[in-house]
Symmetry: D2
């Protein structure tokens, strides 16, 4: 079942001064951090603490990243990150994002792939509870 | 003509402590900054100062970004960013990157699209000298 | 008149994954960004938009910074930044900060000095409305 | 014995685009990262790998930080970080820094205090080899 039609998790951030660059806009690298915030908060909303998961030896590094930038974000603007689970598999998960600015303006679309590994760096299956939480997020409407 | 066979520009950086995260590796967002360093240095090597170009009112924001992560980079490791011009067009340019760690290990591949705009945010043609420099980089072997 | 007894402006942030380092805590450099957030939000609460002030040609770069770190902040923890105006002068202003973690634990104390300059980098007087807003913040209880 | 008269360790960095802010200068928080780079490289030059020290369970978090900013650093400029050991004690060490821009212009002076702790966060004595290396750096001329 695709997450394409599901209801996104929404978190709002404000563009920080330190996040701007000399073009006067949020640096394009900051969107990577915003997406990370979106997916960890989505997971928490579905009962998975990223911090606890890591302490138990389950890591979720990003293996792929794609961002399409459509418009700039400016200092002091409030920005929404809308995150969805696009696909959850036994050893990996894909998230999709929309970043929206004032007036619901589309600033960027993004996608990240994450793999599940243990502390030694070997791929492993997602723990059952994590997978269930991600599947629930994927199908939530 | 594709830049696929051309000789890349190479710059070396060392992973900074502040660039690590609690997984003990360089945070995946740092690669965005490394790629930026690679392409601005490539441009400089071909006679284009990014700083001067901006002062003359020509901006090159990133419009698309793709990174495929293959292996982690660790604190104090030296990392090479190998940058190529993949395609230069009248109003945009695409760069390709390989990030390599110790022993020439492939850490990541990346690609960025940049559009040429003026200070008001309107797309414009790349200045002739910038375009010529990028074309020279594209075909350099 | 000292701001020492005044009521601080309070803003809460959550430690982001990208802000951690391999010691497993928020990197000490992040506190600089948190303080910046605290003082710009304090100013906004008193009617001064930092963004607008800059557009009108008035800049407030940091000229001095002191931080005393008392305890670490961890990923996913909520952190309070409590900001006060300690002193406002004709051409400069000093802010004081407390950073507090869960259970009101003191994580850090900080102080920043900022000078008022114009776009050419010359010191200038704080605009009257900015100075009045900062003075109001200084004495607010 | 004070390190005030000793020869500093020198490392050069270039201001990265991502390090600028919308004032068009290197963000004041970046200096914290530069100082970190200076002191870890000073330690390495004296035979102490910060990475290895951490793996052995010895951590050196920053407990105090002071920066006095004198002039701005701009994108693409080369900046020197000159680092000295100002004082080494049984459980802590103090470093001093000068940040210099083109033409040897003084951009900033800084000082950091670091405490030696174990993985559980308890203060502990600096390992003998680390202390000896820092003492050698302190007195080197």
């Amino acid at each position: 079942m695709s997450g394409a039609g599901s209801r996104p998790h929404v978190v709002e951030v404000e563009v920080r001064y330190a996040e701007t660059d000399q073009m006067g806009r949020a640096h394009h690298g900051v969107y990577v951090v915003w997406c990370e915030l979106g997916r960890t908060m989505l997971m928490r909303e579905h009962g998975v603490s990223y911090a606890e998961m890591e302490r138990s030896g389950v890591l979720l590094p990003v293996t792929g990243l794609e961002i399409e930038y459509r418009a700039a974000a400016y200092y002091e603007e409030r920005v929404q990150i809308r995150t969805k689970v696009l696909a959850v598999r036994s050893r990996s998960v894909t998230f999709g994002y929309e970043v929206r600015g004032p007036g619901d303006r589309l600033l960027a679309r993004a996608r990240t792939d994450l793999a599940c590994i243990d502390r030694e760096g070997r791929t492993r299956r997602l723990p059952d509870d994590v997978r269930a939480a991600l599947a629930a997020a994927e199908s939530c409407r």
